[in-house]
Symmetry: D2
Subunit: 346 residues, 4 copies
């Protein structure tokens, strides 16, 4: 049984484990004051060609989202997010638990655009309603789509004009930036959003997300929020060492590229067998629509999520690849798909 269920089924890239071993007995300061964390932050700033951002390393995505968003907002301010956004449905009300409403907006492809936001602003007109203040987007989105530079620029301009904050959940930012469709550079992002995070957990690390804060007014006292929300690890070195390893050369991007390459093989395999997709997803998650009998056959050897029923005899499934996905398994899956799918498709 091989799993395409998610991109966190394996441990860490071996170089990361090796780095943990090599540094293991060096005594370091706690709480992110260690050499590795400082060095990792410096490397990421270099990669972004941006010395002015603040960077903090946290353990996971939900933790990063709730710590950042609650630190950035005043009590009456709310978040605008796509209905597919991770904070909208899959974080157990983590944002609301810090006191803030998440205004959920129906989207087709998981992406927000200025028209979506304008509609929210138009319907929030006075103090009887929350004040929409922060726009939450994910790149890649939870359904695999990515933002083009022009789209992100439009969002940014709209946010500037309306005094909104723009925040990007980058749990799968690596995959987005390595997508064939992508025209964003890592260095563009801090100039286009007020804060975002570079996801480590889903791209080769054991745990870890690097939160980047580019807007000056959001930087102050951020470490207090980290500590208050339980996000300041005593052995911050664990995060530092991993991001150091991911960013001391191009490992972070290489891992994402591998992940996308594996997804591309799956995607091409589906196309070649004339299957369609729920959504255009040029990243490491794809959502082919398959006949139920084929799904049942594939489930004998592969695990994956059944995403959504499409019609009485077809469902969309979700296939996710990662840095650790093995090419031979991907090719075997495609072969199975094609051999079973083609025969019975006809």
């Amino acid at each position: 049984m091989y799993s395409f269920k998610n991109d966190y089924a394996e441990g860490a890239h071996p170089r990361i484990l090796q780095a943990l071993i090599e540094s293991n007995l060096v005594q370091e300061d706690g709480y992110g004051g260690d050499y590795f964390t400082q060095k990792a932050i410096s490397l990421i700033k270099d990669k972004m060609e941006n010395p002015d951002v603040d960077i903090h390393l946290l353990s996971g995505g939900t933790q990063t989202n709730l710590t950042a968003i609650s630190a950035f907002l005043r009590p009456h301010e709310a978040v605008i997010a796509s209905n597919t956004g991770h904070i909208s449905t899959h974080e157990t009300g983590a944002i609301e638990a810090t006191g803030h409403k998440v205004i959920s907006v129906e989207t087709i492809d998981g992406k927000l655009n200025p028209a979506h936001i304008r509609k929210v602003l138009d319907s929030h007109t006075d103090e009887h309603m929350v004040k929409p203040k922060l726009v939450y987007i994910s790149n890649s989105t939870e359904i695999g789509s990515i933002y083009k530079k022009s789209e992100l620029t439009d969002l940014k301009d709209f946010c500037v004009e309306h005094n909104l904050l723009l925040y990007m959940d980058g749990a799968r930012l690596g995959s987005a930036l390595c997508s064939d469709d992508n025209d964003l550079k890592l260095s563009d992002i801090p100039t286009l959003v007020d804060a975002f995070y570079i996801g480590g957990t889903k791209n080769g690390a054991l745990i870890g997300e690097a939160l980047v804060i580019s807007r000056r007014s959001l930087k102050e006292d951020f470490r207090f929020h980290l500590k208050q929300k339980g996000a300041l690890l005593a052995k911050g070195r664990l995060l530092g060492i991993q991001f150091y390893e991911l960013f001391r050369d191009d490992l972070y991007m290489e891992l994402a590229q591998h992940s996308n390459d594996m997804a591309a093989i799956l995607r091409d395999g589906c196309i070649a067998t004339d299957f369609s997709f729920l959504t255009h997803s040029p990243s490491n998650q794809i959502f082919p629509i398959l006949p139920d009998f084929l799904i049942a056959e594939l489930q004998k050897n592969y695990s994956f999520l059944i995403w959504e029923r499409i019609d009485p005899s077809h469902s969309a499934i979700r296939l996710v690849t990662s840095w650790a996905t093995k090419e031979e398994e991907v090719r075997a899956f495609v072969e199975a798909l094609q051999s079973i799918g083609k025969i019975k498709h006809s």
Copy 2:
């Protein structure tokens, strides 16, 4: 420069890193559904001879405290803690950030007893005041003292009588249980407190605390709270593998014993040089009172915290040992202490 500043200066015990490497490419379910987490939980239950408790693995102490306490209390209920308690001062108001007052009680030795609690209950008499509901204790305490079985039993009886919850912060539980003064067994603890955690971060793990919930009414839906507070790691295996390794034999206790042994050498060295202590601390933290000139000399080669000024020429310092503390460094420190201390002491 050798550090006695804390018990989280190094990485993890080598066996833990080895276990991470060996399991690295096995595909596992996320969010604690992996084999290792389930196995670790089973092992800890076995060690406690208690199949009925619920166990959850979290990343750090503040996270564990805030997730558990906020899950256990209704909005008007408050926590009683020693003024030295970690949640009282060193968690950036993490408990208050979840809505609950921490009623701080002055203690001599960091330990709460029924008389302390009774005084709080006597002064909280109606709905104009919070309702004290949960008693927070640490074992060992933040100043190195430990609870005897009789003391914990007294607390438990008092809490039962007054319908209070008893919660133990076990960030350094290993050291407490291995103390020469200790008469508690791990298996006693779930029978004496409603919930507690077994600290991993400060006893050989990279990160990780095992929260044990013994009171039935506190168990329900706890995973929702984990997720909401950002404590549910996608790669929960990271926690599972570590606790599996710590508890598949006696490693957890052996590491704590080493830590205590190293502290004992330091303690004996101070006693032999006729230095006194701020407090009786039979665990891995000691607080000798030293002349300032000696402190200044020691600081040339060792790092440690200056805890509190005692008089114009003396201060208490804090020395902390861990599983990783090297005996030769400890002996060298004692030698330095004695050679400098004795000469100038006379």
Copy 3:
């Protein structure tokens, strides 16, 4: 300029002011311990033929909703409400500010039914999502519709079956119970919902809502929540005297009946002029759809809300009546509507 904007444009029914004057210099205990509050509570219990409920008097609707709902829920539990529900949009995120997500459900007529709730339950399946726990309904709803006894019974049965709490916002409960369509008695309500409030502010009082808690498990310690949320008035007598006056005879229902009667005249006037309505609203709020030129004419002498654009030349407006609405003003409005409306309508 006469206002049909809302049902809180005037002060209190004169009998209430008279009662305030007569009792003014009697010394009373604070915080609801006064004679009048106790007597009012007793009277309301009598009207409901239900000695077992707990009743608390609060100042306003948002305060009542947020105090009750936050007291009733654990941190991970969420509220299900219609998208038109007051807490969904018009309370500035008051519920979220206490930590709970409001799951908003699109409804046609402002009313929830079991099918709505089932859909929410079906999509909230594990700990990555909030746990839907409390169903919030309003009677009458924010768009004037009311619940029939059978509908409320269906909801109650569904909630019991699925271990959900059912809470009714009764800001306009008087108007609902006096509606021609109504078949609920006040005494039915505590047997059908777990908690609800009887609105005073919009039915003759200066301020005041009577929260009724019928489910035993929700009663404990409620006064702590009142105090914590700033809802326990020092001069609780102000609330007590008002509800005493409203419930010592049939004044509460008489005021609601007057309000509905005035709305009926407006409704009939619209029907007679062949105008249709946005929604069926057999209570004190009606939503006729009028041509824009007529709205503009009416606005010269009357104030009311323009609720929603219907087509390029028509909008729905909201007309609200109250205990204080004068029949001659209502008749004058209808006359204006008919004389202008009929002429240009043809």
Copy 4:
């Protein structure tokens, strides 16, 4: 039985009830948009000779404190208050329920000075602790003492220097300003503190506190916070009319003066009988230390709080006067005190 238990035992000053009656059927906008609220705000600004402050009318003290303080602070910021401060113990953790720690400081006389605050700042040094940000004082304090202008100026200077906010709870501000010891003018206060409230509930109103915000940065969006916390009354006119009546001439100060005059008679009566006091309280609350037998005798005809046991045969009691306290009752109390007290005192 006559009550000296508190200053909220009666209703409102008759002029206020009269004003409610006269305005009762005038239709007004809701939520503070009414004529009276706007006029009251304007009058208070005139009295303070300060057109630049923002003023909001709320229902009660706890509501005002929690709404203001939670609006002013970021999540990691804390309040410094005297241990006798109302928010420290008698508001059921209302501030903590909004997420903020209250750092309680032991004081002798209920008043904070710069030395108290400096000590708190000195012990809160990094992100592992909350960040002290707002200094909460009461004038008069909960034990009857008042701030001199020089004391308040010292506090203000210290707060400015350390970037702290200074907030004054003015539940009994009238009594403080009418005290014989007072040298503050109402117009001084907005120049010395960042925000404060003028208490109405305890000085002639049914309910109502006027929150004055003088610091510009605290003003923005405040009405959102009012609504979110349930503090925006639909019939805001109820608050407006009362403050209009209290401030359209000198009624507010006259009522406070009467209250103080009555307390002075009680105070002089105690002094004349050679009783001492728990604390110097030159306002409308006094705390004489009486022999227990005398207390028992007085309790037959008077109700008051027994504040604190002083020795085996004496206790301090609290006597509170108000705008409604009758001089003949006060004189009768003094007579009883003296006749019983003198006889048995000898």
